[in-house]
Symmetry: C4
Subunit: 499 residues, 4 copies
């Protein structure tokens, strides 16, 4: 059989723009013609021309990518991997330090809250993976504001309420959940863990919460659905393709596979510039001061590379079409002001997610929780609060954050990054523990606020005056701006005594 296999040497001959072969999972592919179409730019492919690209390929592309996007004629067949020359990796002191830190990493039992996973992940994740997950738009002010905004809302707890039995279960889009959060969609799960998003699927099952399946997953959609157990519920997050037929197929397929909600992302007509991500990919070419043109424009980080298909022309006119192609509830993900929530009701949407995309898109856009405080009174005024389910995501780290959102009127909250960090550092056990910690916190904090069930959470239990001041005085600092500032100095003492 191995007679039929290609040799490493043979593949290695096709190492240029003119003829470019690459190996992925033991098979060779001719990507010469595909080069100019590659959303991530041709440069990154050419780096692996004639070589094995599996390691770089995997986290960014679902396994069915090559089947879908590369004509069968370009599938060159198996490679005898024994004949492929192993590239010796250059010694990388940063990577070395990381491996050393992994050898000393704290045990899972030392994590007591969701921030702890992030602190550990920051030390043990690969630099580029950490940068992709942790980065936000521009100065990351909105990203930090998302959590900080919860600290502007304070509790007004009630005492002497019988809180022996706490029922934190609720219903979202008709699905009963054990606790009012869901696992929101986040891209490229394999950057953090070799198994990718299915880890989250398993944890969601263990804790009876809904998982939202991302369009830009590292696993294929079907892999994630296949990982579902029992009557576990999943939703579909959708980036709308310029080619609507592709979108139609995705939606119909998701409905057929049992998805119970369609979350159309509306805050990302173009995926964000995230400088931490961009910088993490960058290795300084040295004397290339000129550095204009091609070199510069392509190092845009993972986000830009994977999203070129998204349709920036998507508009309100498209909503009826979505409602026509599916019976799943249609939810707009990424609504950011009350005007658009009212319009969503009028357009017949079943829900909205108040979200700024985890602070990854438009900097100094407001937090979902702040928008919620603007939205709910307007809905109640019109008697519309039952016509639409309102969700919030962004910055949720504590059960108190969840409770605040529910007091203000949210049906549930989405949590993304914290589970990615738990997964990246500790795998399924990490995500399991993260969810369990939230449940422990939730039970205690509902007791302490004096509410025995989710229905009892209401606006009189919170003090939101802190949100009224807008953003006077409490925007997170711009670290870049402050870093570039040269503080004033007092007179300097001389180095030597005067004569």
């Amino acid at each position: 059989m191995s007679i039929d296999k290609l040799t490493g040497a043979k593949v290695a001959e096709h190492n240029s723009k003119d003829s470019c072969w690459v190996i992925v999972h033991g098979k060779a592919y001719d990507v010469t013609e595909f080069l100019p179409e590659h959303p991530g730019g041709q440069k990154i492919i050419l780096k692996y021309a004639g070589k094995d690209a599996t390691e770089e390929f995997d986290p960014i592309h679902p396994p069915d990518t090559l089947d879908k996007y590369l004509d069968k004629s370009k599938h060159l067949g198996e490679v005898d991997m024994a004949t492929v020359e192993q590239e010796e990796k250059a010694f990388d002191p940063e990577e070395n330090d990381r491996l050393e830190r992994i050898s000393r990493m704290p045990s899972l039992a030392a994590c007591y809250n969701l921030m702890d996973f992030e602190a550990v992940a920051r030390q043990v994740m690969k630099k580029t993976a950490w940068a992709y997950y942790s980065s936000g738009a521009d100065d990351e002010i909105t990203m930090r504001e998302n959590h900080a905004a919860f600290h502007k809302i304070w509790f007004r707890p009630r005492i002497l309420v019988d809180v022996e039995h706490i029922d934190m279960s609720t219903t979202m889009l008709g699905t009963k959940c054990s606790i009012p959060f869901y696992v929101t969609a986040t891209a490229l799960g394999k950057l953090g863990h070799p198994e990718g998003e299915v880890v989250l699927t398993k944890a969601a099952h263990q804790h009876n919460v809904v998982q939202m399946i991302p369009t830009l997953a590292s696993c294929s959609f079907d892999e994630i659905v296949d990982a579902k157990q029992g009557d576990q519920v999943q939703w579909l997050q959708l980036y709308v393709n310029k080619d609507r037929e592709i979108t139609r197929k995705i939606v119909e397929h998701a409905e057929k596979r049992g998805c119970k909600g369609l979350f159309i992302t509306v805050d990302a007509p173009q995926l964000g510039r995230r400088e931490k991500d961009m910088r993490s990919k960058f290795s300084d070419p040295g004397s290339n001061v000129q550095g204009t043109g091609d070199d510069i424009d392509r190092s845009q980080g993972a986000a830009r590379a994977i999203s070129s298909f998204i349709d920036p022309a998507l508009s309100w006119k498209d909503i009826p079409w979505f409602k026509s192609i599916t019976r799943m509830p249609v939810v707009l993900k990424g609504v950011q002001c009350v005007e658009d929530v009212l319009r969503a009701v009028e357009a017949g949407c079943d829900g909205v997610v108040l979200s700024n995309h985890g602070g990854r898109q438009l900097d100094t856009s407001r937090s979902g929780i702040e928008v919620l405080a603007e939205v709910m009174p307007a809905l109640r005024e019109r008697g519309w609060e039952k016509r639409i389910e309102v969700f919030v995501d962004g910055g949720v780290r504590r059960a108190t954050d969840i409770i605040k959102a529910l007091c203000l009127g949210a049906k549930g909250v989405g949590i993304g990054r914290p589970f990615l960090f738990a997964m990246s550092a500790y795998g399924l056990e990490g995500v399991d523990r993260a969810m369990q910690l939230l449940k422990d916190e939730m039970e205690m904090n509902m007791r302490l606020i004096g509410a025995a069930s989710v229905e009892e959470l209401n606006p009189s239990l919170v003090d939101t005056r802190g949100l009224m001041g807008g953003h006077s005085g409490n925007a997170p600092y711009d670290t870049l701006g402050l870093g570039a500032y040269d503080p004033l100095e007092a007179p300097r003492f001389n180095e030597k005594p005067k004569l």
Copy 2:
């Protein structure tokens, strides 16, 4: 006689789950059957199975605990301590450093204010004791806000008032006190000082202030009452037991022993998760990354271990019963919004303590002083301000804090942790000096605000606009969240010159 005594070797045989004996204060006890009932989990007991557990036992359990909770048949009698093998303590570099710091600790005279005791205690207390006393709920935002909130209230002093003679005495629940603070209830006094709460009893007597006796004291209730001198007044702080008969006995006994006030804690249906406390107990087991199950769930810190008896079903319906079993004034401790104060008046309570339990229960609950500013106008509007005495605790560190509370309408303030820290660092002399410092500050500051007596303190002397803004821009930072954040960086300079 020593023939009758058990030998260390004999006890040491019973060192397992199947037969578990422990030595406490020179006597052996068979706790095998008690293991599953132990509120702190069986693990901690098994660590001492067959050994002397006195040192660990003492601060957490009042001396009458074994008599009360362990059947006499399990009391195995005296042990010949000479035959008990002394365990050699492993060298602990942190403990070593602590002892070295103690040898250099500042003299008491170098403490000029209540924060100074805390700064010294932090250096000289055992790590776990410090963690138990100093920890707060979740991100400790409320714990820090408690003191910070006083800084949002500013003085509007009056000049040219005759302040030669300052009378800072007042009356609380009918008791004349030399200054308007009381020693509020705090748990586990022996963690800080071998004599425990009686140290506070003695200091309270020296300064003619009331002491509130905690349910969860290290000393027994009677020990604390026995330490009382002259006509010294004490109050009882009560965690209500699920078994109301136990509660009835405690209350009746307290009244018989002369307690003059019953403070029912209403902000703690479940005792808080305090991560600093939990983390201090934790020693990383190393490679146990999985670490699920039993290992994790039990390391919940001292607070959870000692509080399992508290009844989370306690409700307004129980108040009439309390009033029926005692003639002591009934005060609700831990009220956190105006609605519940009004309800307390209607329920016939004699007082309320506006408190968030020292920031140890629900994080981002508001400070007592902020709630006071909400409560008093509502009481005055109804003409109810004489029907109930309003106390505040949490964050009081300066006489100016006391004065602010009294200006706003409080009858007195409770002070807890600062006296624990003074006691832990310097014993009775420390607490004595702490109280004297408060009196010195109080005399001066009443002069400076232009009030010769407590009656002259009134709302026109303070500017509370700083409280109106809610919590916009001045929530204490979440150190965990900020610690996990990876700041943006400017371009890095290369390590070597470019060629």
Copy 3:
């Protein structure tokens, strides 16, 4: 002649409580009977019993003190100083470092603003002198707020105003001044400079500004008046003595010597506890953990020592008497709310100084500039703004601060500490340069705000909305409280790799 002189040996015999002689400026005094009356406590005198006390005595006591307060019979006459044993000073590493810093101190020309003098003085002044000058009450929040408050007021400059000729002169209490500030009274000038307050007298003359003479000067009142030149104007700051006859004599003498204003300090019925000052005096006695009683109570810093004569019973009833004993304008110094300003008008006072005593008395009392914004609208509403002159002191460091105060309606501002720091670091030249810098800034900033003369400064030129928020979110931090706080930690990585 030397036969008549006492010998050092003779004096040295009287070195105890029972017979205590001290040498001051080459003369011996028997202070045995005076010991219990010494305002600073007897301990500090006994330290010098039988020895030369001149160095310690000088900065704290005006030269006429011994003549005034010690009966002539106790003046023992001259001492043959050659026979007095020179005490060898113990090596003090801090003092050594200070002298080394002095040898390297920046030249005067390197000081570009008033903060620069403070930064230099902090490095070159004696520790205790620096502590006395720089310290404030309690947490020094008010002290820092004083300057910070100016930063809540922003300019609304006018353009295209002819500002070629800037006239910054004005009139205060009938005296023409070259610029609207005066040198306010500050105590113990010899701590900073051997010549004491007369340095300020000379600088005030050079710049044609008024000097306010302090009651607690190191120089005697007459020395300071004698240093006056030409038609230079001085005012008298008065601490009112319990013995009103003493006060009457002081006032009458001041008027006779030409003082043009009587500033009665009304914010200091008792002088403040300033912990930085107290701590600077303290040398830890070592093992004296008990340290109660006498040792502790006396180390109260300079402020308490020198102020025991001040009458805390001073009240509004005394104002008519003051007006009856002098024709000088009567000004209340230290008014802190609008109610008292209105009352001062009604009492016929000629002026008020809105001041919190440089943040040295009551902490979290409001800044003078904030009180000014409260006061002036109330005066204007009543048409009283011409009936009284309103001054402000505290925190003035920039000409912009002066301009803000004048825009809001102040007649002038007092500046104290900055000139002390300039004097302590650089002597008369320092104070001269400090005043010149203010004039340079003033000329420029009046041009830039578009006002050619002091009369053109008015409220429409400033935006004071920043003061409206009270103190929400912008109180200076309490460094002690934050220092004692133990921040939460993320999970610790193990020190060694796990096996």
Copy 4:
């Protein structure tokens, strides 16, 4: 020919106040009589008396300066430069470090935003040049507020808007621009780059944006105009000379050379004191503690040296005259409150620039963006918003800043320092990349806010409540004041154990 040249030795003889020759660009000049008139003081010239002053002369003086201001009779002709003694430069460790940093500087491709250029420039620019560009008035509070103010404005983006095609072009004063910013006037371009302002001219052409030509350029006006390409548009920034005929000539010449707008600077009747700039020039003379008089008053930094001709008497009365001498639109640059904008409309001005001169003039004056929020509603109320074009400059660093200004009603924004920093670090390529980055950000952020063209930007897209609070709690810190403050300390532990 070289016989006619002067020798270095000959020139070197004239090295004093009495006869002072200097060499500039190979020619000698007799400046003896000019010394007292030199705006920067005679001291700086005397430093080069008898020597070659070219290097110091160049950045501060346009090449035509000597022709314009020094009588031809003082032009002494060419110098044989081979005979001029080369001064050996003293070893300067700071300069050495700077050169070392330049050898390692990041490549241009590593700059992802405008702050990055500033961070690099800070490391690679000459100390005095950096100080001149980066310094602001007094405590630099306004300078920092300028950018910080944008962070008080938050977005309210709209979703589901077709943003496939983004048109960010607009029109300013009749000129079509590719993006709504212009290169605002900044002085002394050669401090940052040997070619000076023409670098900006070239970059402006590449990106089709307007350049405003500064009066105080290092290049001559004509050099900058000559560098113009195609139909590129330039404006003239004007400091008005006391001699109006000079001003008239400048204006008329500019119009003739094709300038399309006249921007009269109205916020600088005197150029600012910028202490960072002053300090950078200062080298401590050592023991000169007295240091009064001449030494001190002249070291005022570059700004003061070059601006003595500016007329502080300029007033509203002059506006008609300007309108009479030119057909260019007349725009007032440096308006700072709504009253003056209304007056500008009435005076028939074509535009205003809301600006505080980059925070370089009056400290604690408000940011342009804050003034804009005050101005536009007043204009709209009167229906005047089309009668005048409103520009803003100061603190613009991100496309989001530009969008915020346009949402509030600005026609465009000026950007100055960021391009200087880009030019100083990376030359033309740097400025090119800086502009391209802004365009990239602009396209993305317009997509994300849901506006396909500049016309769609409107006030409903921003939340400006953060500006309402005035400056409560969010003034940038005064680093000098905080630096001079001596924080309180907790009790110090002894250095050695007590006995």
